[in-house]
């Protein structure tokens, strides 16, 4: 009996979604990180990003293994613990017209890597920086990380007594130009956020709460599926209209924040939280601080700035990648050396 092979849906550059997939995940079944990998695949596919024009970066940890599980057609660099920012900085300076997406974890970012993280934000390095945040060290079997909330409890009964670092507040304060928080279980919100991230030019810092089913998904954990389902408070509803889509959204304009991104796409934020203005830096930080006092986990896009120059702009680099400049541009002529020598005589 002959059956017609279904034609796979192709994106705008003619690729099926399978060309955005990676290796089989070796993370635990139900790990939030796997859901994030799926959303990255969807976002890159839907945006029609050429996989060969993406660099995937990571540090060390469960989260940092995940670039092996999406986009096998992209170069990937699994570096050392906490040092994804510096390796990414070098890589993007060498190939600045590529899209760079980095996956880190809460230990990799907020503990061992906090120094480099802070300086990456200051530079507004053009990259998408995702923290797969579960509040716990998975590979070493369940120690608290610096994003674990005060009072949260490990499976072993240990209570965290130190305050959490709010990576979003930190990122906003230090210079990232697109800062949001989402939840690995919220497909719609995370996908829209990732698509907008791809269209943005500058540091995109996304803290994605991603429950660890093995060590931190239980009663008493504030990074569990249950806690997030009960306490997730979206600050805005995120719509994203890519530059190649027709704008066809029917919103009450008084409730909408439209932000035009660098590639002509539109990030459309429907306010849920009073008069939240995502371009007001001070208000964004204050909102996050207030939520912390109320034990609420806010999600959504907290801050966006499309005006600030990136590190590449500041350095005034040529359009061609530094990596492949011809020798005629990288080796000054003999006359230059001769003149230097003559000056020293």
């Amino acid at each position: 009996m002959a059956t017609a092979t279904p034609t796979p849906k192709l994106n705008r550059i003619g690729l099926p979604v399978i060309e955005y997939r990676g290796g089989k995940s070796t993370l635990c079944a139900g790990c939030g990180h796997n859901a994030i990998s799926e959303r990255i695949i969807d976002a890159m596919f839907e945006m029609g990003v050429e996989p060969e024009r993406v660099m995937k970066m990571s540090g060390i940890g469960c989260s940092s293994k995940s670039p092996a599980y999406f986009m096998s057609r992209s170069h990937s660099f699994n570096s050392v613990h906490g040092r994804m920012p510096s390796v990414s900085t070098g890589a993007i300076l060498a190939q600045h017209q590529l899209t760079m997406l980095g996956v880190s974890g809460d230990g990799d970012t907020a503990s061992i890597g906090v120094g480099q993280f802070v300086h990456l934000l200051r530079r507004n390095l053009p990259m998408i920086y995702i923290i797969e945040d579960n509040g716990v060290y998975g590979l070493t079997k369940g120690q608290f990380s610096a994003t674990a909330d005060i009072g949260s409890k490990l499976k072993t009964g240990v209570i965290n007594e130190l305050p959490a670092i709010d990576t979003c507040a930190l990122a906003i304060q230090l210079g990232a130009t697109f800062v949001g928080r989402s939840f690995s279980g919220d497909k719609k919100q995370l996908l829209a956020m990732l698509k907008a991230a791809i269209a943005h030019k500058g540091t995109v810092m996304l803290d994605v709460i991603s429950p660890c089913v093995t060590f931190n998904d239980h009663e008493g954990s504030t990074k569990s599926y249950k806690f997030m389902q009960e306490n997730d408070e979206p600050i805005n509803e995120i719509g994203f209209v890519a530059s190649f889509d027709e704008i066809d959204v029917d919103y009450d304009s008084g409730q909408i924040y439209d932000v035009q991104l660098h590639d002509g796409s539109n990030l459309r934020l429907r306010k849920l939280h009073e008069d939240y203005d995502p371009t007001d830096k001070a208000n964004a930080v204050r909102t996050l601080m207030e939520a912390e006092e109320k034990n609420e986990v806010l999600t959504g896009v907290f801050y966006i700035n499309t005006e600030k120059p990136t590190f590449i702009d500041l350095l005034g680099l040529v359009d061609e990648p530094l990596a492949t400049l011809p020798e005629s541009l990288t080796r000054p002529p003999k006359s230059a050396l001769d003149a230097l020598m003559a000056n020293l005589q």
């Binding site: 660099m55 092996a68 992209s74 050392v80 070098g90 190939q95 040529v318 530094l322 020598m341």
Partner: protein, 373 residues
Amino acid sequence: MVAWYPITPSTSLIEATTDLLKKFRVTPEGKATFAVVQAEDELAAIGMVLGAGWAGARSMTSTSGPGISLMAEFSGLGYFAEIPGVIFDVQRSGPSTGLPTRTSQADLLSTAFLSHGDTKHVILLPGSVKECFEFSMAAFDLAERLQTPVFVLTDLDLGMNNWMSEPFQYPDKPLDRGKVLTAEDLNRLGGFARYRDVDGDAIGWRTLPGTRHPKAAYFTRGSGHNDAAAYTEKPDEYQAVMDRLTRKFENARTLVPAPLVIKDKSSKIGFLAYGTTDFALRESMDQIKKEYKLDVDYLRIRAFPFAHEIHDFVASHERVYVVEQDRDAQLASLLKLDLPADQVVKLRSILFYNGLPMDACSITDEFVTKEGL
């Protein structure tokens, strides 16, 4: 791409480099064909160097002892994941902070094996300002040819003081950008395995991010990998990579700057030295010749791993004095690890480590005492 963190006595190297880049590496439209980043620390500096080297740009940093210590972990990644980069170490005195404004040669041993696990590095050892110029170019070529971090060890005496020099020669060879496959190559080959030794030189071919071919990508990792760059814990696959790295390092003996024969076949006694020790040693040789009528041979070492000529020099002498500016006879120790057991007994040490540049009399006095002249 230059990434650096301020530290005495290496800062002047970066400041001079930056001035030259601003003068010679700007297009008529005013765009930079270079990037200089003052990093947040030395860990970040070498991380940026490896990131840029991996993505295909020539990259460098410059530091001194404490910075070298901080670069240890990344140096191992560069060695194992086979990523080019150039690290200048303008050596200063002492463990810890030591004497930051004084000179020494005491980073040699720690740099040779910088990082944990089985790691070893290519080191170039210039002995003059002119060689600093020449070896800098050689270091970038070697880093890309060998796909590994290359260290250039100079010292405060050479790196910060004013020197007389012969004029520098304009290079007569094009840059060696190493083994890089393009999309056209991949069309022809149908694919590649990043760490496979297809040419018998223990060096695999690499691709750069951005190469428009569906088979161009590979996964770079510091964890165990096989020759196709896939994660592995299989004993034979892991060991095969480690053995290939050893072969690559062995091959480097003939690619690094060869030692310089200053004097040979005049004596049963020889001197070995590197770097700025050269100046004091030549003067000392004149003193020894004048006062004791003894013409001692001398070979100046210019790189690690050691070239075969160094083995031959030791083999053809009865006693070999290793003259160096550190307390623990680091060059002699490194030679002892490399020489056959029957040659090791020939080595004697003349050491100098008070923070000042070595002087001729100190060498002559120690030599005369040890020789019983």
